[in-house]
């Protein structure tokens, strides 16, 4: 009896030790940062491509209002509802007390590439560092310098309201072990410059993968089904397949894709809605060449069938068969 107790105790201790070791925060060393004079114009471009304001600027109305007050005032306050609970987006303005005004460039790089905040705090991947980790060090240095030029506002956003076990931050170390390696995007030497530029914008700052791809039970992207559509992160409806297949956007030309990013109109002139609106409005601010590069890259993806069944979001029982893309 006593021996059994000791064995169990040893197992529990070993488990706790393993959890502790496996969830240790992994960070980028200062030596990884290149010598680079910040380019504010490129920082602003990265800010737009990364859609920072879509989540971090204060919403115009209620906390889930997609409209924002001012894209340069990154005080947070937006709420993101998910299967794990509700995330409240933090203040990333350069305020020293409530924002990230005390963060060094290395701190910022570790948040973006490793999902680790100063003090070894694991960040939730609702902040899409799983994509941002692919950004180059130079672009991150530029982005940090640009964020430093924005107004500092003293404001504390509410804490996240998540369900157990997701409320245990330390557990994110396991997720990060699986899905975060901090490796920057490497261009494909066989692909054109346009494809590589588009791939970078889509996979790194643009974080398109995050909504348009289905996930495993652990919350990671299923690589073999990337961009083939997914359940909406807020649980209501689906996000479309953007691979060049019959289910996806195979009958769209690259011009059609670039035009959608510029104007919000699909080739048959439906108008995009919901969470894609603020994304598209940022894409519209990029250079036309960047939108064309994104289109060229999306056209180069392997065609894939829908990863999830399209469902009519609110009237499942009454849906008629003809809603297609409307």
């Amino acid at each position: 009896m006593r021996r059994a107790f000791l064995v169990i105790l040893a197992l529990v201790a070993a488990g706790a030790m393993a959890f502790y070791l496996l969830t240790m925060p992994v960070t980028v060393p200062a030596s990884a940062l290149p010598e680079h004079a910040p380019d504010l114009a490129n920082g602003k471009l990265m800010f737009t491509a990364a859609g920072c304001a879509e989540c971090h600027a204060a919403p115009a109305g209620a906390c889930d209002d997609l409209d924002i007050k001012d894209e340069t005032v990154l005080v947070g306050g937006r709420c993101l509802k998910s299967d794990f609970g509700t995330f409240h987006v933090p203040n990333i303005s350069p305020d020293k007390d409530t924002g990230i005004g005390n963060w060094t460039t290395l701190d910022f790089v570790n948040a973006m590439k490793r999902g680790i905040a100063p003090g070894g705090v694991h960040l939730y991947p609702a902040f899409p560092y799983t994509s941002y980790q692919r950004m180059t060090y130079e672009d991150l240095i530029d982005l940090k310098a640009y964020l430093d030029t924005l107004p500092a506002v003293n404001h504390t956003a509410p804490a996240h309201a998540l369900r157990f076990p997701y409320n245990i931050r330390r557990g994110l170390g396991l997720f990060q072990r699986l899905y975060v390696d901090g490796k920057s995007f490497t261009p494909d030497p066989k692909a054109s410059d346009a494809v590589n530029r588009g791939a970078y914008l889509v996979l790194a700052p643009g974080h398109c993968t995050e909504c348009h791809s289905p996930r495993t039970a652990f919350g990671g992207i299923i690589a073999s089904k990337a961009f083939a559509g997914a359940k909406s992160p807020d649980g209501d409806g689906t996000v479309p397949n953007i691979t060049p297949s019959a289910d996806g956007i195979g009958d769209w030309s690259a011009d059609d894709i670039a035009y959608l990013l510029e104007t919000g109109n699909t080739p048959d002139f439906d108008v995009i809605g919901e969470t894609m609106v603020p994304v598209q409005e940022n894409m519209a601010k990029l250079d036309p060449e960047d939108r064309e590069a994104i289109a060229t890259f999306l056209k180069s993806l392997p065609p894939r069938p829908n990863a999830v069944q399209k469902s009519k979001a609110k009237d499942k029982s009454k849906a008629t068969g003809d809603e297609a893309d409307n």
Partner: protein, 157 residues
């Protein structure tokens, strides 16, 4: 006894009429939704696609066809705004994508419809000036599509 029968009968009749009235009200709402969606799907979108395809260079620019398409669009808004009876919002009628905000701010909704009429009329005039002016005017018009959908449409998938 006979009086009781009459009263029962009268009540039953009133009930039938009331139910029929409700059913026909629901039919009216569904009909309004069907008609307004048909205006968008069968008139506005194909006409806009024609203009869009010219701008993207998928088909050659044709001033007369472009102008005719824009005028088709300009005919829609006046009728369109009459097809939003109270109670035809997205949560009430299966195929409706109308946000309740339409009824909270019907004037704002009508104003954007009016802007669509103006910008599509302007795009028709611009088509006669050539491809460049048409492209610019067409862009102005599609901004109205977006603005209105963003404010007043609930997208169901």
């Amino acid at each position: 006894m006979r009086k009781v029968m009459l009263i029962v009968c009268a009540c039953a009749c009133a009930g039938v009429v009331a139910v029929a009235g409700l059913a026909s009200a629901a039919d009216d709402l569904a009909q309004a939704v069907k008609e307004r969606r048909a205006l968008m799907d069968d008139v506005v979108r194909p006409a806009a696609k024609l203009g869009g395809d010219m701008i993207k260079g998928k088909i050659p620019f044709d001033a007369d066809k472009a102008a005719a398409a824009m005028l088709e669009i300009s005919d829609v808004p006046e009728t369109y705004v009459t097809l939003f009876p109270a109670g035809s919002e997205a949560d009430a009628v299966p195929d409706s994508e109308a946000s309740p905000k339409i009824w909270e701010d019907f004037e704002g909704f009508k104003e954007l419809a009016q802007k669509l009429e103006e910008t599509s009329t302007a795009a028709a005039a611009a088509a006669e000036q050539g491809a460049g002016p048409f492209k610019a005017a067409f862009g102005e018009m599609t901004q109205m599509c977006k603005k209105c959908h963003k404010a007043y449409r609930v997208k169901k998938d």
